[in-house]
């Protein structure tokens, strides 16, 4: 599938400001995610990546700015929409910390993922796809989600988001709490699924080198502002600025 043929499922964010009470977290963020791209938001914790994702999902109400999503040719203004409606449009989030329903089984978690009207009719196909993509989940379909290991839970979280048949997939800190080997596996999984399903992906991740492996483009957030926007993320590799932000030298 060539990128040019994908129907434009894109995100455009302009001049976004947001915060919690007194604390301003985002000051004037503008980013765009074009159809079929994988864009990564980089930066260490507390710099506003999660808040930006939450603004897109309607979980945090921005104080100013514009968020628009274009899905299958229709453009939606996301500001003021409820999280449920945004999911209904075709945007799903794999939340930070996975947020599974720990006392439901793996299968119940997955079935819940297809709550969205559009996804319900294709629920058995989706389930088959997820079990195919994650054989581990099939083995453990009757197990409680909370009893699984961190890596398995992350797979389930991704699979649950896919059950909604999203066009745009947001992923918030997939590496959280995972051992390094699992981090790279998870990131690869996201890249594979993106390719298979023709998704548009926006991923927030602090694990810089892992994230840029799959990125088409990247933004670096520091203190709620975009300090770097890279069309060629590999170029960021050698950027001394990035090193400084991360490891605090200098």
């Amino acid at each position: 599938m060539s990128k040019g043929l994908t129907l434009a499922n894109s995100l455009a964010i302009e001049g976004l400001h947001a915060g919690y009470g007194e604390v301003r977290v985002l000051s004037g963020i503008s980013i765009d995610v074009r159809g079929g791209e994988t864009v990564v938001l980089l930066g260490t914790n507390g710099n506003g990546k999660s808040t930006l994702i939450k603004c897109i999902m309607g979980q945090v109400r921005p104080t100013a700015g514009r968020i628009e999503a274009t899905i299958d040719g229709t453009t939606y203004d996301l500001i003021g929409k409820s999280t449920e409606d945004i999911v209904g449009i075709g945007i799903s989030l794999v939340p930070e910390g996975r947020r599974l329903f720990p006392k439901l089984t793996v299968e119940e978690n997955l079935l819940l993922g297809a709550f969205r009207e559009f996804a319900r009719v294709r629920i058995s196909d989706s389930l088959a796809f997820c079990f195919d993509a994650f054989p581990r989940l099939k083995e453990r379909r009757r197990q409680l989600a909370g009893s699984m290991s961190g890596g398995e839970q992350q797979m389930l979280a991704i699979a649950r988001a896919l059950m909604a048949l999203p066009k745009i997939l947001l992923v918030d800190e997939p590496s959280v709490g995972l051992a390094p080997i699992l981090v790279s596996k998870t990131i690869e999984t996201i890249a594979n699924l993106k390719r298979q399903l023709g998704l548009t992906v926006l991923m927030a991740e602090q694990n810089f080198r892992q994230a840029i492996r799959i990125a088409d483009r990247g933004y670096v957030l520091v203190h709620g502002q975009i300090v770097l926007s890279a069309d060629d993320p590999q170029a960021l590799q050698k950027n001394e600025l990035v090193r400084r932000f991360y490891l605090g030298g200098g």
Partner: protein, 240 residues
Amino acid sequence: MIAKILEATGVTKRFDGFAALTSVDLTLLKGERVGLIGPNGSGKSTFVNCLTGILAPDDGSIIFDGNDITKTPAWLRARRGLARTYQIPRPFRGMTVQENIEVPLRFAVGHTSAGTISEAAQVILDQVGLGEKADLSPKGLTQVELRKLELGRALAAQPKVLIADEVMAGLSESEVDEILALLNRLNAEGISILLIEHIMRAVMLFAQRIVVIVAGSKIADGLPDEVMQQEDVERAYLGE
């Protein structure tokens, strides 16, 4: 040799299938300033909860000031001099700012006279820069002030060890410097400090030693510059 004030050995905590902490060791010497860092979700807060008695570890032991406190309830740890702040401020919302400070003065320190408590509370409020806000409800405080209140309440317990859990998140550079100065002053008075922090600049400035936790395991422990040069620490932050 300087005596150890806090020594955690093999602390392990599981939540169902998720291994939040796997045999983590940590020592804090008397008067030392240690930074505890790690990516988000690596288990730092779980570790703090185990140290302070909010969570019971599944395995491991914690020695504080020569006593095994592994099974000691949280309030008694506070009384013995192990104080903490909460990452998300948890003030007593039904009380004024000053009354918040008075709770540990009464319960952790054991003051009984209202006059002494009130005076001591004002000293602490001035110390953390909330002197003017003493009679306000915490509902009227900003995020920054709430952090200071957290810190003030921990100080009021007259701790031997202070565990500061992300007291600087969301603060401006000058506010970070302000809190750092305060922590340094407390340290100079003899309080050992364990600082959990994401802001690397602050950690590098403050800590004499840095401990790194990744995915529930300790991967590094040593001098700040050396630790940050370490291959696996860089990998944990920047990836491979």
